[in-house]
Symmetry: C2
Subunit: 608 residues, 2 copies
């Protein structure tokens, strides 16, 4: 590299450090030192290797950059300033109310695709973006800037395993090994060899460099681009706070503005006005999409016994035929969730993520960045493994579709470890989420198609065992709606149910009618958003609501109902799973948990 | 090994297979094939290496065995039968209602310490048990039987990193590499070298063997016992369904009873009556505990400004002085959570788990198996990373204490990725949990001590910023209680708050009183169990409850209150975080989220 270029890169990096210090100083908080360690790495990437059109962030040929160490946001924003897409005034709005420049990057900025700040998520999400690139037959690259501390997260090794085994050569991890975590030295310090051995064992190409030497950085980034059949990790030895004696390579300087920013800026050579010209990709690229071959929505006859998981599999296959942008991801349980039905028809759009639920969700987030419609399925219970990824998908505004099978005690003999009893609560708390819970096969098929165009995180909960088909094929079930299944003028109470308990509620209503106690039944298939109007009407009419759910008493259907009617003040009796189940048949489980038709009858009688 | 011993081991293994087939056949479900692959491994372990007194499962000198592949429960129960602690009749009660022999092992059995069935959890929990062994200065060994499929879970590599780096030589992982997962071949099939390279890179001693050769198994287990300063992984190549042609090494035979069990039993040589004599440990071992040095509970003066996280750190230090069984674990944020205060006083009882929250919780579960009182702390937001481990801790009945700092929007500028807004919902759904949320420093100290003797998963939520001390030192705050802070005969409504919102509620009550609208205020520091009596009384008196919480609207304090009073039917207005926060000061955040005193005043006025 010519001396002139090296000088330019040094100047650019110095400006990035200066601006990181200034932004944090103005905010009075933030992570300047974690930004300074990675400044040379990002200066060389932006000046020499990144291919990105800042005027057209949606250009499908753009490289994808993920700041997994999201706390280094001052560096990212300083890069934006150097690239000329934000000005100095906006830079100095860092961390202020209303500013797009938040403490950690979010997609409020047009050049940020996924929110980061929960460590260990950037690389798994990057795997999904890289998988999409292969599918789209586009040559963009995925660059992920990681910290060294976050390599302790297991999710990083789920990503390393998948990328290594699949040979995702379009993925490069750049690890800023600054040796200092939040509270002190990392486990491996500057031993980049320790990380190289680990990534190497997982099938990655590894390069160890001095992360402050632009020549070595340039060589490594080139090497990453030229490496075939393997992802590359660049392990860059750096110094936290590089360039300012007060904080350089010192403990106790994490996550704080510098004490004397003016002195620091002077030490770094003062404020500059260096511009970085990021190379634009060749225009006109079109991502490959699969052809739509027509739809044949599955139809089930009323009275048939079909599990909702079976209907999900068949409906997903139909959706795959109707739309070329639908993809499916599996946590090595596709035969149980029935994603297998889709996989057999569309093997090239089916992704086996093995038993790695964090990666399962992260890869879905990565694929939706590129416009795909991912459906990711596993047992409802095991989605809890990915809770933090689901939470962050909500922050990112990512449109992913999650499917949790084997909901509740109704699974029967397998016991509590396999029962999804917390999933409704988890998905309801997710920002911007939709939570759906069908009770029959036709309803499942209808809701599955509804999900395809929903924004945000949406969730479909399915049941292991067969349930009777009660709705005609082709009926519509809008998100946010409900179905009144029993309603009589003299109703003494209304039973609100969803999924497997709808059938228990119907049986209970029949039994109660025989005892001259008419009750209404609502199928609340949309748990979030919830049909407040229908619930309020029922509450107003009968004054007594009985909720019944195959889920824990906290945070699920019962709470959704209470919440919808709470300002009205009807009596609400909640039937839910409160004890720890053991092994038993599905019927015994429903009875033992007190959520079967007998329990509903007893609750109504007790209430009245 | 003499021929006679080899014959005995072959007979014992054959019986384990026969009994696994019989138990699953009787149940009509279960995992006989996954049991059969590991039968030789466990036969040799039980006959030659395990040190365990089945009559005294609490003997501290006992080895610890964890079936991480919990679906191989038929094998575990067949081992119990061979050891003579259950009879054939009980074996055949497998998966039946009321039986201790559940689909996946749980501590309902006296010889099972932790429930398994969610894969990838046994090894991280084993790390905690092994850490305890080192602390207790006892020579017991920890044996973890893993499947090959579950090695895809990131949590396994969090455990591998910690055990390798810490040199936990008392830990042995035995991996049953039967090459077949649930839906088909695993990623690496029989390539035990792929796993050996990975574990080797993480610092483990690795041994690759034929898992059906008792001589090789015996050698490997011996080698594990004789290896110093490193944990050992035995990678055993096996065949799923070994011994029965119908299922041996075949796809599609996962998780099902055999079609023709009688033929299979005949093929395996018929029913046997082989007894295995498990060697007992030398009696009289006593685990080391640290000396108690007296307690000096921190006391804060009313009116002082102290953050609850600071009080947690100081109270934990005091508790550590008072009790020799208290240990603390950190997810590399001890300076933020303030576990650091404990760490500085008791470095030998402080465990840095780095940024690996699944391992953080799992290690706590492992340590409590041995009678320690672990407190594990990180940001509340990042506890979501460990949701599945918390869920399973609930199933295990594990007594662990979790502390989540940086709760809610009140953290300020850092933005949504760092805000714990889902933690109350997550912890409330956990079976058998306790959820506490103090509003001042003295209350924090009091609740922290209460937690030490609680059963099950307990959770303390702390706040980043300073809050005024409102309670006198030494006041008691029983779990399940609440505090009425304002109450007047003419109260028009009652505001129910906890943590940071208590102070907002008090300010609102003062403002409202100035407008001649008296309202009551309840500090609901115990979110679960909740003080239903106090809430019902308030609801009965004023008829109007306003809940206000720095948490999402779903599953938190508001839902807990609604639930407690739902059968009574007062009006409940819920103030909670509904939008996606950005960066702003703590005060701006509370205002933007509509949970500050101004919002409370407005809500009361709107309601009345």
């Amino acid at each position: 590299m010519p001396e002139r270029d090296l000088q330019y890169l040094a100047e650019l990096a110095a400006q990035l450090r200066v601006d990181s210090v200034r932004a944090a100083a103005e905010a009075g908080s933030g992570h300047p030192t974690s930004s300074m360690s990675a400044a040379d790495l990002m200066a060389v990437l932006f000046a020499c290797h990144l291919s990105y059109d800042f005027d057209h962030p949606d250009d499908p040929a753009n490289d994808q950059l993920i700041f997994s160490k999201g706390h280094a946001s001052p560096l990212l924003y300083s890069l934006y300033k150097a690239a000329g897409v934000i000005d100095d005034e906006e830079l100095l709005s860092f961390r202020r109310r209303g500013s797009r420049l938040e403490g950690h990057p979010t997609p409020r900025l047009p050049w940020v695709d996924v929110a980061t700040g929960s460590l260990g998520q950037g690389l798994p999400v990057g795997v999904g973006v890289a998988m999409a690139g292969r599918l789209e037959r586009l040559p963009y690259r995925v660059w992920v800037l990681c910290g060294d501390s976050e390599l302790a997260e297991g999710s990083v090794w789920e990503a390393a395993e998948h990328a290594g085994a699949e040979g995702l050569a379009n993925l490069t991890a750049i690890v800023d090994v600054n040796r200092l975590g939040q509270r002190g030295p990392t486990r491996h310090g500057w031993d980049t060899g320790a990380y190289a051995r680990r990534f190497g064992a997982f099938g990655w190409h590894t390069i160890e460099i001095d992360g402050h030497d632009p020549g070595q950085i340039d060589y490594a980034l080139n090497d990453a681009c030229n490496t075939r059949r393997r992802p590359t990790v660049i392990l860059a030895k750096t110094r936290k706070g590089e360039g300012v004696l007060e904080v350089e390579n010192r403990e106790g300087a994490h996550g704080k503005a510098l004490k004397d920013p003016d002195k620091a800026v002077a030490e770094l050579g003062g404020v500059r006005d260096v511009h970085v010209e990021v190379r634009k990709p060749v225009p006109g690229a079109t991502p490959y999409r699969f052809a739509a071959t027509g739809i044949q929505v599955p139809a089930y006859s009323v009275g048939d016994q079909v599990s909702t998981r079976t209907a999900y599999g068949e409906a997903l296959k139909a959706l795959g035929a109707a739309r070329g942008d639908v993809v499916a991801l599996d946590g090595e349980v596709a035969d149980s969730t029935k994603t297998q039905t889709f996989a057999e028809e569309f093997p090239e759009r089916f992704f086996e993520m093995y038993i790695a639920e964090q990666l399962l969700v992260a890869a879905a987030v990565g694929m939706q960045v590129r416009g795909w419609k991912p459906y990711a399925a596993t047992f409802a219970a095991f989605l809890t493994r990915a809770h933090d990824f689901i939470r962050m998908a909500g922050v990112s505004g990512a449109s992913i579709r999650l499917v949790g099978s084997h909901a509740g005690v109704a699974i029967g003999e397998d016991g509590p470890s396999q029962m999804g009893l917390e999933d409704l609560a988890m998905l309801r708390t997710t920002y911007g989420s939709t939570v759906l819970y069908p009770c029959d096969a036709n309803q499942t098929a209808a809701l599955l198609s509804e999900m395809a165009d929903l924004d945000g995180v949406s969730y479909l909960r399915t049941t292991r065992g067969d349930t009777p088909v009660i709705y005609e094929p082709g009926e519509r079930f809008p998100v946010g709606g409900s179905r009144v299944l029993r309603q009589n003028p003299g109703d003494r109470a209304t039973v609100v149910a969803a999924g497997v308990t709808v059938h228990e509620a119907l049986a209970a209503a029949d039994e109660l009618r025989a005892s001259d106690i008419p009750v209404g039944v609502i199928d609340l298939y949309s748990i979030k958003p919830v049909d407040a109007a229908a619930l309020i009407q029922a509450a107003t009419t009968t004054g007594n609501l009985i909720t019944v759910e195959d889920h824990r008493a906290e945070g699920g259907l019962g709470d959704a109902v209470s919440d919808a009617v709470s300002e009205l003040g009807p009596r609400v009796v909640k039937l839910a799973v409160t004890d720890l189940p053991g092994s038993a048949t599905p019927r015994e489980q429903l009875s033992d948990a007190g959520i079967d038709h007998t329990a509903i009858v007893a609750a109504v009688k007790r209430l009245l």
